[in-house]
């Protein structure tokens, strides 16, 4: 079971979190014309990297904040966590 440092609450067990996918995906702006290829990339295309990956998790059984987690998908090592408004590297 992973041990995840919520930037608001501190180190908490994985049980308190819910996984939310790739954090590097950016939604196209609302009310703007989006080329359909960009839209398809946003909705469907995800890399599935082996190694470092920046992910979204939500602290559902805690502060309910969405957070960023930089994790190694092969070893589960967590290098860094951050608020969603902060950049990881």
């Amino acid at each position: 079971m992973l041990y995840i440092k919520c930037p608001y609450c501190g180190l908490r067990a994985q049980k308190e979190f819910s996984y939310g996918g790739d954090a590097t995906v950016k939604r196209p702006n609302i009310n703007e014309e989006v080329p359909s290829e960009d839209w398809d990339n946003f909705v469907y295309m995800r890399k599935s990297p082996r190694g470092k990956h920046i992910e979204l998790w939500q602290h559902i059984a805690g502060c309910r904040q969405w957070i960023k987690v930089q994790r190694d998908t092969a070893t589960h090592e967590i290098f860094q966590t951050a608020k969603v408004t902060e950049e990881i590297r």
Partner: protein, 998 residues
């Protein structure tokens, strides 16, 4: 009642307390502190089971966790448990143990014929023999394998015991209380660290209990006791015996299995049987010790053959002799300690040492005591079927592959030692890639991946001095980093015997024309020839050899067999062991009970139960409940002997004719506040929200970004910047996370807050033509006319003195209202409604009637919004704005969503107007067509239309809008039904929606 193999004084058992038990029906006794194994051996019983494949007689081989053979079916405290390790299970009064895997009895086992049909059971036997013909599998092969194979019998009774889970955090977890573990725990405790020390066995001390050593002038056992006593007195230390750390998971999470009460005669009903500990440790000391490995020889599985350290442990801990005429067969010095222990107890052993004549401290001591030592000797084959009677021994030539002399000697036990294998399971599980240590012919931990440090024998250090030093240093250094305190501890003086070098000898050769079975893996019956066959058939990877031969795959995880198997493969392949590599160590290290894994999460405690504030009323009024997620909802209220069908029909009809009330508390409710709330809703929902006035509700549809409908519900504008959103019961949690995602990540610039208020409000729907009349009686001072409170209107008013919210919304399609009051007032509201409603023919209705009402109105719900439908599929495209952007809008333009023949919701009625159509039925053109019969759609919801008094269903059908009026078949192979149906509009009742506005 004599115990022929019990020593008079030796051992740590309590001789004042006799314990009676039975084995295969025979009444026996042992002492408190015995294991089942030690008590049986004391009684001279060695034959305890039959082997897995060949049904060969098997006895005890080890004295603890390493035991591969002695797995028993054990009955105690009212339950029956299979595969209990007899060398670990402590004796309790009244325990009854029986042999497994034998029929009709352990002494006469029909399956032993397999032993004489060996040629049928080589490596890969199952793969080869049972492949063909295919039709034989179910009827002949599988039943045969099941009968012949298998270990014990799992109980089919409900487990009445209590099991618990515990979460714990510590600075340092020490796994094993041998010398290095004790030293580590002690040093860390002195530095003020929070320490957990876990010992698998009942007694602390590990090898200190059996080795002839002294520390600071105390015997090993006394020193261990002194340290444990001190540790127990420290508030920062938790000391646990009977506790096996069996798994090392990510981020230094270790899982421990504690046997809390199986050894107790009496316990309170709240005492758990076993406890699972989830321990998050900052640092972990792996002081798991090592396990002796055997030397492979002919018929080495005969009862009476033991690991030499086990024989010593039986004498020193249990005061039991494994035999009175022992042969000690060794390639190293440690077995000499066993020989000396026999000698001390007036038993004359013969030592067969594969090494050439030489001298060492222990050899010299054995010689001086007059023990018969034969160098360059080994056991070729053990004689005796159910018990060792004699052994053919040989003097090895210099090449160690042929014999100078062969003779037979009498013996009643053989104690074998092939040197020591560090227990690296936990280190390996932590991600540590092991390395091969030539000096000890075994794998030890290499570079760390997590916060683990192996010390003592687990790290390949086999001397006491080194183990203690290593333990004190690591315990002190690791904890000092955490506590920033360092207490100096002087490392004690140690007195121990020096061992000479061991012999790299692991398998006895066979003389020409002799071909006895030589087992490598006892528990899975894997012999030397099986491994040879696997290699000759081309298996190379050790993982493949493992699976093909089943080497090391049994519950003992190959503790005594892995390295010998690797040696064999590397010898045949002409490789060195590290090139062959090792197989993967997986948790659990020892088998654990299912009960422990499950813990308290059984029955009512399986998941939380959510009850509405009106739950008790429903219970008292014969509600039959249905699970809606964790919620309990009334499905129907049973009157007399009514069936579900009858009751739901009555309840639904009453709503259509009079008025009914329904508990809708479970609907998800989200409070939305902030100056940008309208803009936010406008982006979240597909329809327009900017112009909704205060005091009005609106139905909304939300999509996922891929255009699929996510949820629907009404949202009401309570005040300028305050909205009340409702979601379906099932999607409440997902919708909240969804909203939070957009507010926190995508549009943080919007000034909006959302919070769940599902549990804060109790809700009741009042539905039916008489609902306005009833409402006016509930709110005598309020104008509830159609003009003052129109469809989709909202009002706040006092409900008999308590604040309430009135929404004029409808799920049933009738004139209807929903009243919300604070949860605390829920029951008050409900009872008041039942009282006032009497005059109007009010009846409560459950979810089944609710479904009937919404289905015949063509209102979609979960079965239609199934994660595959877009708004137009469910005829909700009228809610999709063309003017504004919203979540998922861009996806709705996708080609496949816009083809002419796109699926669409339709209604179905059976041609005979009688046959109910099973939900999940497939719609086909021709019910007799050849399979696969093309599927045109599926039935999503079915009901008995109370309005038209015949069955009616909703279906999602390809090209649905052009199918109206056509006839098809709804087939359900599951229910074995095929019903001819006609396609009609999905709005079966009141298609213009007049009633809700009336």
């Amino acid at each position: 009642m004599s115990q022929p193999f019990r020593l008079n004084k030796e051992g740590l058992i309590n001789r004042d307390k006799k314990i009676s038990f039975t084995f295969n029906g025979k009444k026996l006794f042992g002492y408190e502190g015995d294991t089942i194994a030690s008590a049986l051996i004391a009684n001279g019983i060695h034959l305890v089971g039959r082997s897995f494949k060949y049904h060969r007689p098997r006895g005890f081989f080890g004295a603890g966790v390493e035991e591969p053979n002695a797995k028993l079916q054990v009955e105690f405290n009212g339950h029956s448990e299979p595969n209990v390790n007899a060398t670990e299970m402590e004796l309790v009064e009244g325990l009854s143990a029986t042999s497994q895997n034998c029929w009709p009895s352990v002494n006469f086992d029909v399956g032993a014929i397999n032993n004489f049909l060996k040629m049928f059971f080589p490596a890969g036997f199952y793969y080869k023999t049972f492949m063909w013909p295919k039709s034989f599998w179910y009827k002949i092969y599988e039943p045969f394998i099941r009968k012949a194979a298998g270990l014990g019998v799992a109980s089919i009774e409900k487990d009445k015991e209590r099991y618990e889970h515990k979460f714990e955090y510590c600075d340092l977890l020490v796994t094993g209380s041998g010398p290095s573990g004790l030293a580590s725990a002690y040093a860390a405790a002195k530095n003020g660290a929070k320490v957990i020390l876990a010992e698998d066995k009942p007694r602390f001390g590990g090898t200190l209990l059996t080795d002839d050593v002294s520390i600071d002038n105390l015997s090993g056992k006394d020193w261990a006791e002194k340290i444990i006593t001190e540790l127990k007195s420290m508030p920062n230390v938790t000391v646990k015996n009977r506790s096996q750390v069996f798994g090392y998971y990510d981020h230094n999470m270790l899982v421990m299995f504690e046997r809390v009460s199986d050894h107790l005669e009496k316990k309170s009903k709240f005492t758990p049987r076993q406890r699972l500990w989830y321990i998050r440790a900052k640092e972990t000391i792996l002081s798991t010790g090592s396990i002796e490995r055997p030397i492979v020889f002919g018929n080495n599985d005969t009862p009476g053959i033991f690991l030499s350290a086990a024989a010593k442990e039986y004498m020193k801990v249990y005061g039991v002799l494994v035999g009175k005429k022992p042969l000690i067969f060794t390639n190293n010095d440690s077995a000499y300690e066993t020989a000396l222990e026999f000698k001390k107890n007036n038993v004359e052993p013969i030592i067969l040492d594969t090494r050439e004549e030489h001298s060492s401290e222990l050899i010299d001591e054995a010689k001086s005591k007059g023990i018969d030592i034969r160098f360059s000797h080994g056991v070729i084959v053990a004689n005796g079927y159910k018990k060792v009677k004699s052994a053919k021994i040989g003097k090895l030539n210099k090449d160690k592959n042929s014999f100078e002399k062969i003779e037979t000697v009498d013996c009643d036990c053989i104690c074998v030692s092939g040197f020591w294998t560090p227990s690296v399971h936990l280190a390996s599980q932590s991600g540590n890639k092991l390395k091969y240590e030539e000096k000890i012919d075994a794998f030890i931990p290499d570079k760390k991946k997590q916060h683990e440090t192996s010390v003592g024998a687990a790290n390949g250090s086999f001397t006491l001095e080194e183990s203690l030093k290593h333990g004190f240093e690591n315990g002190s250094n690791l904890s000092a980093k955490i506590t920033e305190t360092k207490t100096e501890i002087s490392i004690p003086n140690v007195n121990e015997k020096k061992y000479g070098a061991h012999d790299k000898f692991w398998c006895m050769p066979l003389p020409k024309n002799e071909n006895p079975k030589r087992f490598v893996d006892f528990q899975n019956d894997v012999s030397v020839s099986d491994i040879e066959i696997a290699l000759s058939e081309g298996y190379r990877s050790i993982e493949h050899v493992k699976r093909y031969t089943t080497l090391g795959m049994a519950t003992d995880q190959g503790r005594t067999s892995n390295l010998n198997g690797l040696q064999l493969v590397s010898n045949i392949e002409n490789k060195i062991v590290p090139e062959v590599g090792h197989t993967t160590f997986r948790p659990p290290f020892t088998p654990i009970t299912i009960g422990t894994i499950v813990g308290r999460e059984v029955g009512m405690e399986y998941m939380p139960t959510r009850k509405t504030p009106m739950h008790e009323w429903h219970e008292k009024n014969n509600a039959v409940f249905v699970d809606a997620g964790a919620w309990k909802r009334p499905r129907y209220y049973k009157l007399g002997s009514e069936t579900l069908f009858e009751a739901s029909k009555r309840e639904a009809k009453n709503v259509r004719e009079n008025v009914g009330i329904c508990d809708v508390t479970t609907l998800g409710k989200i409070d939305i506040k902030g100056p940008d709330a309208a803009e936010f809703l406008n982006r979240v929902y597909t329809n327009a929200w900017m112009k909704l006035p205060v005091g009005k509700a609106r139905y909304g549809l939300m999509l996922r970004e891929d255009g699929i409908v996510m949820d629907d519900g009404t949202t009401t504008r309570i005040s300028e910047n305050h909205y009340h959103m409702t979601t379906t019961t099932a999607q409440a949690a997902n919708v909240l996370s969804h909203l939070e995602y957009y507010l926190q990540i995508v549009w943080p610039e919007l000034n909006v807050n959302v919070v769940s208020t599902t549990e804060q409000w109790a809700g009741a729907a009042i539905a039916g033509p008489k609902s306005r009349d009833m409402l006016s009686k509930l709110y005598p001072d309020l104008d509830v006319s159609n003009e003052a409170l129109p469809f989709m209107g909202y009002k706040e008013a006092e409900f008999f003195g308590v604040p309430s919210r009135i929404f004029r919304i409808s799920f049933s399609g009738e004139l209807a209202y929903e009243i919300n009051v604070k949860s605390d007032h829920g029951m008050f509201m409900w009872e008041k409604m039942m009282e006032v409603g009497k005059d109007f023919g009010n009846q409560p209705y459950g979810t089944e009637a609710l479904s009937t009402l919404r289905i015949e109105m063509g209102h979609v719900a979960g079965p239609e919004l199934d994660g595959r439908t877009i708004p137009s599929d469910v005829s909700l495209n009228g809610l999709v704005s063309k003017k504004k952007d919203f979540i998922g809008k861009n996806s709705l333009g996708r080609e496949a969503f816009n083809v002419e023949s796109r699926q669409k919701i339709v209604g179905l009625i059976p041609i005979d107007r009688k046959s109910s159509i099973p939900e999940g039925s497939h719609i086909v053109q021709d019910q007799n067509a050849k399979l696969p019969n093309p599927k045109l759609g599926h039935v999503s919801s079915s009901c008995w239309s109370v309005e038209n008094n015949n069955p009616f269903s909703l279906a999602i059908m390809k090209d649905g809008k052009n199918m109206i009026g056509k006839k098809f078949f709804a087939v359900s192979p599951l229910k074995n039904k095929s019903i001819e149906v006609e396609v009609i509009s999905s709005h079966y009742v009141d298609p213009e929606g007049k009633r809700v506005r009336s």
